[in-house]
Symmetry: C2
Subunit: 249 residues, 2 copies
């Protein structure tokens, strides 16, 4: 059976790549992905065929990977983070029936939410949700509904794609929705950008000041605490519920 | 500076462990964790000191790891999945101020939600939330509120700790709450148990039939689709929003 692996290499460089994903890359003859991520892999595996496609061309990228695998070359389609979280796994599986002799295997990776959480402390110690603020593929009304629901459920929230040049106001809109839904202005929040890469940065802020942070871009992960999130010694931590001093109580 | 690493080794065996976590284990003299997870690490690193603590003794485990690190032995505190998702990272950071010469570093891992998603297909391609049904540490009313909010937001839902011997009814209660909140009975769902280990299993079901599945236990991850989740060729896939046939449209 011809093989297509679909995997995320983690939020940063190859360090947060799993051993299973690394083995899939080692086994593959061809690696397909967005240019910036291919460069991270090339350092470790210089002797592969690399097929690079520009940002935004997701479906074309998936098709190229399936065509490569169908030609008999074991192929690995990569993205950052986890391929199953806003990634290439869905389109690859939806499109796979046109390539019946290709077996598609999805390999899980570290998604940006948990990568950012580790950099910031331990904000995802309790129930949380992950919401993308990009309205390229999801209508803004649906995003609004989800933000209100997240506030109603007192979830910790990890925001992906919080802001871009084309959408400079999305984060400010999201903050307003959360405040209107009753999330206190002083709620501790954390930002992590370029996790695990050159120029990595992170800082703590509050819901009140979040939208004013000018460094936030589409590669930043924003974590908004819930009612049990605290800042301790510069780390953002959500109490798990053990109670007592040892759990931030 | 004395060092304590806190890391998850992924949902399964060492295969889904990241290279960064693997390096932290290699560097450590002492590894602390729940017995079953230590056994997974021991195969790869036989010559460490292993400090094993029983299930449920989370705070004692964290204290032992901090004491070990404070004694000058580089120590790695491990759990399954990601240490920052219902894991040891929070207590370790909350308790670290009693051990001021220990530097605590959290290393992210693959959490069960994304591990299960990869086994099942690609159900987390759009906004999702992660909810634990264990009311050991979270009051059941809070869990209920979050389930209702998740339904209102049309989130894909990953449930952790769906059922245990002490809580045989929690999953059935959760399903009822979701149905009462308007989630259709025919909503596709997926189950994944013992991911990446001996005896791994997974299957698709529907919200209607979910609670009748007798194999579900506290180590099972349950994924409940949203309005855009489909079953195709035996895989659970949520449309990303590209539209058209290539996205399940």
């Amino acid at each position: 059976m011809k093989k297509l692996y679909v995997t995320g290499i983690g939020p940063g460089g190859m360090d947060d790549c799993t051993m299973r994903a690394d083995r899939a890359l080692a086994e593959s003859e061809t690696v397909v992905g967005y240019t910036a991520y291919l460069d991270l892999v090339r350092g470790r595996f210089p002797d592969k065929e690399y097929i690079s496609t520009p940002m935004g061309g997701e479906l074309a990228r998936v098709r190229k990977a399936l065509v490569s695998a169908a030609s008999g070359r074991t192929t690995c389609l990569i993205c950052s983070g986890d391929a199953g979280v806003y990634g290439m796994a869905g389109p690859a599986l939806f499109m796979a029936d046109k390539y019946p002799d290709v077996s598609v295997e999805v390999i899980p990776g570290v998604t940006a939410a948990t990568g950012a959480a580790a950099v910031l402390g331990a904000p995802l110690m309790n129930d949380f949700c992950v919401i993308s603020l990009s309205d390229d593929l999801t209508p803004w009304e649906v995003i609004e509904k989800r933000l209100r629901a997240a506030a109603a459920g007192d979830f910790v929230i990890a925001l992906y794609n919080p802001r871009s040049r084309r959408r400079p106001r999305t984060l400010a809109c999201a903050v307003k929705i959360l405040k209107d839904a009753g999330v206190p202005e002083e709620t501790p929040c954390g930002l992590a950008g370029r996790i695990g890469r050159e120029g990595a940065w992170s800082r703590l802020t509050t819901l009140e000041e979040l939208a004013d942070d000018e460094q936030i871009d589409m590669f930043t992960t924003v974590v908004i605490g819930n009612s049990r999130t605290r800042v301790k010694d510069g780390r953002l931590i959500t109490a798990r519920g053990y109670g007592g001093e040892e759990d931030g109580g």
